[in-house]
Amino acid sequence: MTQPMTQTMTQDPAVLEIRELRTEFRIRKQWHAAVRGVSLSVARNETVALVGESGSGKSVTALSILKLLPGAGARHAGGHILLAGRDLSTLSEAQMSHVRGNDIAMIFQEPMTSLNPTMTIGDQIIEAVRQHHATSYSEARRQALEALREVGIPGADNRLDDYPHQFSGGMRQRVMIAMALACKPKLLVADEATTALDVTIQAQILALLAQLQAAHGMSILFITHNLGVVAQIADRVAVMYAGEVVELADVDALFARPTHPYTQALLRAMPRVDLDTDEFRAIPGQAPTLASMPTGCAFAARCPSRQAQCEREHPVLQQVVGGVTGHMVRCPVRLEQLRMNLETSL
């Protein structure tokens, strides 16, 4: 985790590389972008966390990767999604269904409703196995049992023929993970996978994911709004605001030197053991809606360090002055401040 970004980048080719992804939704007959030029890469065995508040576009980014957005109200409006060099954005629906579950798997927020109530969990895992591999039922059943044991279901042998309602939330999320990993995907997308669980179960699931990642070697794109979870699991963090990545850094750099005003505000709004804070400060105001996106910086209206230029010019993602390589931020004001600090200290 402490390893500098540059090394991991050069050693491992990216499993997933998103370039300038733009996803639009139709609202009252007009197309509005919910994801605006997101670029992000996930290296082999790396865990990248995508953080942001509700409506910041993090889940839409995840669904765009798998092309799971509803066809009628949403569209891919530009950019590329490269999975091990193969561009997913050009694939047909039939080709995409070979990628889903096989190369990229996804786990969801609600373990209570993510399983089919009318099928035994054994049959659901078997179905996932046989979707992508021509194996016999008995072989698939053996693999399903193996998967259940691996995700730590106690007494897995007796539970294969149980129905979802006989499992607790945490156990169902383990079953979901077993299904998702049944075909040994290269990339696991976890969309708020621990949000609906209580804290102890959340810690168990995070530990399980880390353990499975070490055992099988896979990349994880972890979507969450919980910075505590980020600190525990991620190698690298992308902070999203209003459909854009506003700060990108490895996890230690982000918590040590949060640079974007939004990231700083987020960290101030959360309890921390490592800092002596008495008060949590809420971020005033609201994120702009899709239909009323400002031309300048999207965060400007809520920003404490706002300047006149912020409302005119749309900022770009730039390397942080004096920061570790790969620490990027979308805020010229803060960059200018850092540059000044650096000059005065010299």
């Binding site: 798998l66 799971l68 009628a72 269904s97 070979h98 990628v99 889903r100 579950g101 096989n102 798997a105 996804m106 786990i107 969801f108 927020q109 609600e110 209570m112 409703t113 993510s114 399983l115 089919n116 109530p117 009318t118 099928m119 179905e127 996932a128 979707q131 992508h132 023929d161 149980d162 129905y163 309602h165 006989q166 979901m176 299904m179 998702a180």
Partner: protein
Amino acid sequence: MSTLSPSAPPTASAAPPDSLWRALLSNRVAWIGVALLLLIVLVAVFAPWLAPHDPLQQNIAYRLDPPSADFWLGTDSYGRDVLSRLIYGARISLLVGFLAVLIAMLIGSSLGILAGYLGGWFDQLVMGLVDVLLSFPTLLLGLMVAAMLGASLENLIVAIAITEIAPFVRIARAPTIALKQRDFIEAGRALGFGPIRLMGVHILPNMASDVIVLASLWMAAAIRTEASLSFIGLGVPPPIATWGSMIREGFNNILDAWWLIVFPCVAILLTVLALNLLGDALRDALDPKLRGEKR
């Protein structure tokens, strides 16, 4: 299955089969329906052994005989035994009712699931057709189709099936729209499942109970429609005995021979009653909110 929690599962359709049976059989009204229906089915199946006479055997000497030791339910205007005709008629009524509902259920629920899942123009087309079907009274629609196709057993089944497609489309479409937004369908898509698998394996079983309840209720309606069409003369052609045509023939002698009409009517009444009781009980058993109430 051994560790069923006492609390009700999250949705009605999530009830595993054995708890459904328990809920159904704890209901006394359901027992009456099941027993009555079983009796009628057994009578229909074993008709050749149970019927005291040949249902088609005419005998002018015994014309319009009232119920007696020889002919328990009397004879009709051709001297045929009413009881035997009633027993054989059960076969036709049950066959027509069962097959018509089966066809309507298969076509209707498939269309409903497709319409709900695909949405868009296909949904609008199907629902438009359903509205057209629903705008005709059942009997009138059955009458038109039967008259168009001509009177035969097969055409009667088809005609009744067409009259009953619409409710099955509706009962399948609504839960499909709700289910396709559920997380496990999205999870299935994320695992690479195609639309046919999602519709057949993941959506259909979740609404099967609704469809089965509806089928038991509409089978009663199908038997009624069959009787009505036969009464008008658009049913199974004579001399085959059906309950509807027996009433029709008895109608001519209604003042002289009450037994010709009363007994087929009672037979229809009991069958429809049995199916309705069963349907109501099934619906209650599948609804977790009503489960556990004493009746």
